[in-house]
Symmetry: C2
């Protein structure tokens, strides 16, 4: 199948949305925790979080154009505080349910059966059952005029994580953390490790870091 | 383990880099194809591609601060054309090898054993062995002053894809497309489908779209 931009623009809306939401590959899944200026918590599933830098530790996130009942971005603009929490195989249904359009001010924590967790010095709520809890403060908000989305860049100010999910090299083992990957708008996937490879250099072939390198 | 921003800033650099590159969860893996103004092709693996919109179809990508021998962003600025191609279980070693720092002007296609594929009307090269080939034109380039990275926003102008990887609803089946997910800087993962869930509504619980919903 070969499609050009005019054919894409002419597609059925649901088909185009499904295609474009799945075309980039597997997506990281996180629960975005926020709180309003007057203390009402909010949580919703997001699949658009990405690494932007390690020092300072910055994560990016794309927010959809403002809609009714969509409190997360308002809360982030008001409080400058938010959290990202990994979606696990134990609570992916509750996580998916947070994407429903609840009335403004209603807590999806309560409605969807997810427990809040508060940490001293961090305003926004974490998700208690997530093994990876990241507390962020807004570093920069960029409005994307092309299509009305918003890029929120956050500085990581808290990491709350089970010791057993962090490897010797500092990296997180998402299999132990029970993290899921997403695809499209409704697919939940459990990855298994295929390989870890050595740092690539021009003058030698990469090798496997796990087990025997016999393939 | 609980870390605050000062403790993160004080971490060993390699540990912090490993932690921050893995903390967001599983990442989509793509091969970025570009070509210089004078016709030299370039390909490198990227894990920072994300959905920004379906109509117009826009994808975002974060590029690291400019380094020596790093031609991709220069090529994109010069030609306004690039491609994204899924990383598969069949060529993940070759894909990883493209992250080595080859001298400027050397083609990683040739050095790493990946074959170019050219499509009429699209300047930048695709990766022949990828089942999902996306051709993009620059829509906007935003320099992020916070840390010297660059956000490249591309409009999808070509999709070249095997028919069998597209489902009835228009979404891509990444298991059939043989796509891998990444974690950190060196981990390659093969996801398996855990579940697909119904569109979430406030007044009813989500259900599974696959098999019997008995859990």
């Amino acid at each position: 199948m070969v499609l050009n931009d005019q054919q894409i623009a002419g597609m059925d809306k649901a088909q185009r949305t499904a295609l474009m939401n799945s075309i980039t590959g597997y997506k990281p899944l996180n629960l975005l925790g926020t709180i309003s200026a007057n203390g009402r918590p909010n949580v919703c599933i997001v699949s658009s979080v990405f690494h932007m830098g390690s020092n300072p530790a910055l994560l990016g996130m794309i927010m959809r154009p403002p809609r009714p009942n969509n409190d997360s971005l308002c809360n982030i603009r008001d409080t400058r505080s938010y959290t990202l929490n990994n979606v696990t195989a134990d609570h992916y249904r509750e996580a998916h349910q947070t994407s429903a359009s609840y009335p403004s001010g209603v807590s999806e924590f309560e409605q969807c059966g997810l427990e809040e967790y508060y940490h001293e010095d961090h305003k926004a709520p974490f998700v208690a059952s997530s093994f990876i809890k990241i507390g962020l403060e807004v570093a920069q908000i960029i409005d994307i005029e092309l299509n009305g989305t918003t890029l929120v860049i956050g500085k990581v100010v808290h990491v709350i994580i089970n010791d057993n999910v962090v490897g010797e090299d500092g990296s997180i083992d998402h299999v132990i953390a029970n993290s899921l990957a997403g695809s499209g708008l409704d697919g939940y996937f459990q990855p298994r490790l295929l390989d870890r490879l050595t740092y690539a250099k021009p003058d030698k072939p990469v090798k496997s870091l796990i087990g025997e390198d016999d393939h």
